[in-house]
C-alpha cells in the first residue's frame, strides 16, 4: 500500500497501480478515450493528463498521463489544475478538427468549454481518433487481424493491404470497444459483414435467433474448455433451460422455448 495525495485528499493505492485506476476508484472524473479496463494502457489520447509533484520537488511540477504513471509514495496529483485543463482543451480542439462530426468528441469538447475548433477541419473525416483500442483488443484476443498502418497524420487502422483480413473471426470486439463508434458492421440474412469480410452466423437451434459468427465460435472452442454444442443455442435459450432445470422442469424446457 502506498499513500498518495489527490486534489488535496490523502488516498490509499496499491503498489504498481496506475494513477488513473486510483482516480476511477475514487470517483474522480478524468476523460480518457483510449483507456479500457480490458486493455493495457496505451497513452495515445493524452486526455487523462494530470499534474504531479512531490514535497521535495521544490514546487516543480510535471504533466503525465495518469493511465501510464505508476503510483509512488508521497505523490501529489492535481487532476483539474488550470494547466491540465488547458492541455485537455487544446487536445480536444485538435480532436475536434480531426473528427468534426463525432458526437462523442463534440460532447466532450463542449463539456470542456470548446464549442468550436480553432483549426480547419479535416474534410471527409471518418471520426477515428486513432486510439488503437481496436487493434489492442484484437491483439489481446490473439488475432491481430487489423493494425495501424502508415505513420503520422496519414496513419489509419486497416486490414493487411486493405483486403478482407484473413485472421478476422468477426467477433466485433473492435467495433464494440471503439470510443467513437466508427467501425461499421452489419448482420443480415444470416451473414455478418465487417472489414469487408463476410461470416456465417450461427442460428440458435431452439429459437432460431442469429448469434455469433461460426469462426468466432470455432476459435473459442479451440481456445477454451467449452462443450462442443455450447454455441448451438443462444444465451436466452441457455438461460431459460437453466431456469427450468433449477425448477426441476427439465423436460418442459424445450417445449416452452419453442
Amino acid at each position: 500500500m502506498v499513500l498518495i495525495q489527490i486534489n488535496g485528499k490523502m488516498v490509499k493505492a496499491h503498489e504498481g497501480e496506475m494513477v488513473l485506476s486510483v482516480l476511477r476508484r475514487e470517483g474522480i472524473e478524468v476523460p480518457a478515450l483510449c483507456d479500457h479496463q480490458a486493455l493495457e494502457p496505451g497513452g495515445s489520447c493524452r486526455l487523462c493528463m494530470v499534474e504531479i509533484t512531490k514535497a521535495d520537488w521544490d514546487g516543480w511540477t510535471k504533466n503525465v498521463t495518469s493511465c501510464l504513471y505508476p503510483v509512488e509514495e508521497g505523490l501529489i496529483v492535481s487532476t483539474h489544475s488550470e494547466g491540465v485543463l488547458e492541455i485537455r482543451r487544446n487536445i480536444l480542439d485538435m480532436l475536434l478538427a480531426r473528427c468534426p462530426n463525432s458526437d462523442v468528441i463534440q460532447k466532450l469538447a463542449e463539456e470542456h468549454g470548446v464549442m468550436k475548433t480553432s483549426f480547419d477541419t479535416l474534410p471527409d473525416s471518418d471520426n477515428c481518433i486513432m486510439c488503437y483500442a481496436c487493434t489492442r483488443v484484437c491483439e489481446v484476443l490473439g488475432k491481430s487481424a487489423i493494425s495501424a498502418v502508415m505513420r503520422g497524420h496519414k496513419k489509419v487502422i486497416a486490414s493487411p493491404f486493405g483486403d478482407a483480413p484473413p485472421d478476422c473471426i468477426g467477433c466485433l470486439s473492435c467495433a464494440h470497444i471503439c470510443p467513437t463508434n466508427v467501425i461499421l458492421w452489419k448482420d443480415e440474412n444470416g451473414k455478418r459483414t465487417i472489414w469487408n469480410k463476410s461470416f456465417d452466423l450461427i442460428t440458435c437451434k431452439k429459437c432460431g435467433k442469429e448469434t455469433i459468427s461460426r469462426e468466432f465460435a470455432d476459435y473459442l472452442l479451440e481456445q477454451r474448455d467449452i462443450p462442443a454444442d455450447y454455441f448451438e443455442t443462444c444465451d436466452d435459450c441457455k438461460r431459460m433451460e437453466l431456469a427450468f432445470k433449477m425448477g426441476g422442469l427439465v423436460d418442459g424446457a424445450e417445449e416452452v422455448a419453442i
Binding site: G43, R46, I87, I91, A148
Partner: protein, 617 residues
C-alpha cells in the same frame, strides 16, 4: 588469429605498429561518402596503378591507403601525403600521375592542388595549418581519416583496444563506471544525460540479461557525424561498447544503424567479424571470463526510431513506436530488461577516457559540459564538413574561423542547431558559448550536433515550415498532440508563407506549441515545436511582415514576391541563361526585361546577378 591473452595483444600491437610505420610515404585517399560521390574510389585505384607502374622502391603499392572521412567534405576528394602532411583538395584521376611524379618522387608540392584560404588568398600546404583543422581538437574523430577502417591492425597500431586491455587487467567494472562518471561525459545523442550515471543505475538493477545498445540512427537533416565515425573508425565504437558491457555486466550488444547508411553497415560488420576472429569480441574476450558480442540491426527508414524506446521496439521486431518512459530504459529497456543506450559519438569517446583518464578529459571544455563535440557544418557555409571542437567554443569561431564564413560574401542570418528538435539562433547569439546548457537556455539545443548555417536569402517562416513538414512526415502518429498538433501547425505556417495568415494564427501557433511540448508522448513531439518557437522568439518580425504586409523579406515565399530588373542592369545575359522558364529576354549590354506572367519566382536570376540589379519586391 585469435588473441587469448592481454600480453599477446600487446605483442601483436608491436607487430601492427611496425607494419603501419614501415610505409615510409603514405598516401591517404579519403573514401568517405562525400568524397566517394566525387570519384575518390577511382582516384585511389589510379594511385595503385601508378605506383605499381613506376615500381617506386620506397613507396609500396599498399601505401595508398583507403581511409574514412577527413571531414573537409566541401573540398573532396581529399588526398593527404604523409609524413609531410601535404594536403591536396579536389583531386581528380588526371592529377594522380602528376602527384606521384612531383610530390612522391621529387618531394615537390603542387601549389594548384593545395587548399586556398578564402581570407588571405594564400595556399596552405600542411594539413594541420589549415584553419579548418587548426582550431579543432579531435577525440571522438581521433582516427578518422588516418587509418584504414577495414583493418583492425591499423586501429591496434594507433593504440586501439589499449583501454580494453587496461580495463581487463587493472580495473574492476565499478572502476570503469566511476572513471566515466568522473569524466562528466554527457550523452552526445542530444539529451545530454550523464553517461556515468546511466551506466551506474543500470549496473545496480537486479535483473538479467543487461543490454548495450549503440544508437546509430542519426536522422537529423544536415547531420552526418555518426555516419563518419561508424564508417571511418568502427573499432572505436566497438571498444566503447565493450567497455560499457564490462562495466554494467552485459553479454549482448546491438548497433542500430540507419537504413540510409549502407557503407557504415559494411565497415561495422567487417570490424565486428575481425574483432571476433581476433578474440576481442565473443566468448572469453582476450582470454578472460568476460564474454560479449555485438549484432547490427538495420533501421527501416523511420526518424522516430532514433528515439530510444522506439528503437528498442524496432530491435525487438515490433513497430517502431515510442512508449512512455516513466519507467526508464536502464530499468526496463529492450525486452523489458535493463538497457544502456548511448549514441555512436559517446561510445567512440569512452576508450579515450579510460585510456587517458577522467581527469584529462574533464579539463577539456566547460565545467558542466566536458570534452569535445562533433558538429557537422552544412548549409550556407564555405567549409562544409565535420568539425570536432572543445565545448565552450563560441558559435562565431565555428562559423567564421573553422567554417570560413558565408559564401559569396552574403550576410549571416541564423544557425540552426539540434536538428528538428532544436532551434534557430540569430546573429546576436553568435558569441554564445556552445555547450549543453547555454544552447538550451537560448531556446535551441545541442542535439546530436547538426549545424545548418543560413544566410540572408533564407526565409525564417519557410524554415519553420520546412522543419514542421519534416516532423509531420516523421511523427509516428501514436499520440494526439504530435500527430494532430504538428499537422495543424504546419498547415498554419504554410498558410502564412502563402500570405493567407492572420495575427490570430500566430497566437494560436504559440498556444498550441506549448500544449504539444507538454502533452506529447515522446521526445519527438515534445521538442517538435522548438524550431517554430525559436524562430518566433528571434524572428517574429518576419512572421508579422508575411502576415501584415504580405511580403517575404528574404525573397523566398513565392506567393509574396516579385523579382524586378532595375536600371543598373549591365546586360550581361547571365540571368537569361539561368532562367528555367525563359521569362527574361534581352540583348547584350542592354537592360533585360522580365516577363512577370512567365516568372515562377524561383530566384535563380537574383542569385546569379553580380551587379545587384535584380530586386525583390
Amino acid at each position: 588469429m585469435r588473441i587469448d591473452s592481454i600480453p599477446k595483444l600487446e605483442k601483436w600491437r608491436k607487430k601492427c605498429q611496425r607494419e603501419y610505420n614501415s610505409r615510409k610515404r603514405k598516401i591517404f585517399v579519403c573514401l568517405g561518402e562525400a568524397c566517394l560521390a566525387n570519384g575518390s574510389a577511382e582516384v585511389y585505384d589510379e594511385f595503385k596503378k601508378e605506383l605499381k607502374k613506376r615500381k617506386l622502391s620506397d613507396v609500396q603499392v599498399e601505401s595508398a591507403i583507403k581511409t574514412g572521412c577527413h571531414g573537409f567534405c566541401a573540398l573532396g576528394p581529399l588526398v593527404i601525403i604523409e609524413p609531410e602532411g601535404t594536403f591536396y583538395t579536389k583531386v581528380k584521376v588526371k592529377n594522380v600521375a602528376e602527384i606521384v611524379e612531383k610530390t612522391i618522387k621529387n618531394h615537390e608540392v603542387i601549389d594548384r592542388l593545395l587548399y586556398k584560404d578564402k581570407k588571405t588568398k594564400e595556399r596552405i600546404a600542411e594539413y594541420g595549418k589549415i584553419p579548418f583543422y587548426e582550431k579543432q581538437q579531435r577525440i571522438s574523430l581521433r582516427n578518422v581519416g588516418t587509418i584504414d577502417p577495414y583493418k583492425i591492425s591499423d586501429y591496434i597500431a594507433v593504440g586501439g583496444y589499449t583501454a580494453l586491455s587496461k580495463a581487463l587487467t587493472d580495473m574492476s567494472p565499478k572502476q570503469v563506471i566511476d572513471e566515466v562518471s568522473k569524466s562528466k561525459l554527457r550523452g552526445r545523442g542530444g539529451g545530454g544525460f550523464s553517461t556515468g550515471r546511466k551506466w551506474a543505475t543500470c549496473a545496480k538493477v537486479d535483473d538479467e540479461p543487461r543490454y548495450v545498445i549503440c544508437n546509430g540512427d542519426e536522422g537529423d537533416p544536415g547531420a552526418f557525424m555518426d555516419r563518419t565515425t561508424m564508417g571511418s573508425d568502427p573499432h572505436s565504437v566497438l571498444e566503447g561498447m565493450i567497455l560499457c558491457a564490462f562495466g554494467i555486466g552485459s553479454t549482448q550488444g546491438y548497433i542500430y544503424v540507419r537504413e540510409e547508411y549502407p557503407l557504415a553497415v559494411v565497415t561495422l560488420q567487417n570490424a565486428i567479424d575481425e574483432a571476433r576472429d581476433s578474440g576481442i569480441l565473443g566468448d572469453n574476450i582476450l582470454g578472460t571470463d568476460f564474454c560479449f558480442d555485438i549484432k547490427i540491426n538495420r533501421g527501416g527508414g523511420a526518424f522516430v526510431c532514433g528515439e530510444s524506446s522506439a528503437l528498442m521496439k524496432s530491435i525487438a521486431g515490433e513497430v517502431g513506436e515510442p512508449r512512455a518512459k516513466y519507467v526508464r530504459s536502464v530499468v526496463k529497456g529492450l525486452n523489458d530488461k535493463p538497457t544502456v543506450l548511448n549514441n555512436v559519438e559517446t561510445f567512440a569517446t569512452i576508450p579515450v577516457i579510460i585510456d587517458k583518464g577522467a581527469k584529462w578529459f574533464a579539463k577539456i571544455g566547460t565545467k558542466t559540459s566536458t570534452g569535445t563535440k562533433v558538429f557537422s557544418l552544412a548549409g550556407k557555409i564555405n567549409n562544409t564538413g565535420l568539425v570536432e571542437v572543445p565545448m565552450g567554443i563560441s558559435l562565431r569561431e565555428i562559423v567564421y574561423d573553422i567554417g570560413g564564413g558565408i559564401p559569396k560574401g552574403r550576410k549571416f542570418k541564423a544557425v540552426q542547431t539540434g536538428g528538428p528538435s532544436g532551434g534557430c539562433l540569430p546573429a546576436e547569439k553568435l558569441d554564445l558559448k556552445v555547450d549543453f546548457d547555454s544552447l538550451t537556455e537560448a531556446g535551441s539545443m545541442m542535439g546530436s550536433g547538426g549545424m545548418i548555417i543560413m544566410d540572408d536569402r533564407t526565409c525564417m517562416v519557410e524554415i519553420a515550415r520546412y522543419f514542421l513538414s519534416f516532423l509531420v512526415q516523421e511523427s509516428c502518429g501514436k499520440c494526439v498532440p504530435c500527430r494532430e498538433g504538428l499537422y495543424q501547425l504546419h498547415k498554419i505556417c504554410a498558410k502564412i508563407c502563402e500570405g493567407q495568415g492572420t495575427m490570430e494564427d500566430i497566437e494560436l501557433m504559440e498556444k498550441m506549441s506549448l500544449t504539444i511540448q507538454k502533452a506529447s508522448l515522446c521526445g519527438l513531439g515534445q521538442s517538435g515545436p522548438n524550431p517554430l518557437l525559436s524562430t518566433l522568439m528571434y524572428f517574429k518580425d518576419e512572421f508579422i511582415t508575411h502576415v501584415k504586409d504580405k511580403k517575404c523579406p528574404a525573397g523566398v515565399c513565392r506567393d509574396l514576391i516579385k523579382f524586378v530588373i532595375t536600371d543598373d542592369c549591365t546586360g550581361c545575359m547571365a540571368c537569361i541563361k539561368v532562367c528555367p522558364v525563359d521569362a527574361i529576354t534581352g540583348e547584350k549590354k542592354k537592360i533585360h526585361i522580365l516577363d512577370q506572367e512567365l516568372c515562377t519566382q524561383c530566384g535563380s536570376c537574383f542569385d546569379i546577378c553580380k551587379f545587384d540589379s535584380i530586386e525583390i519586391k
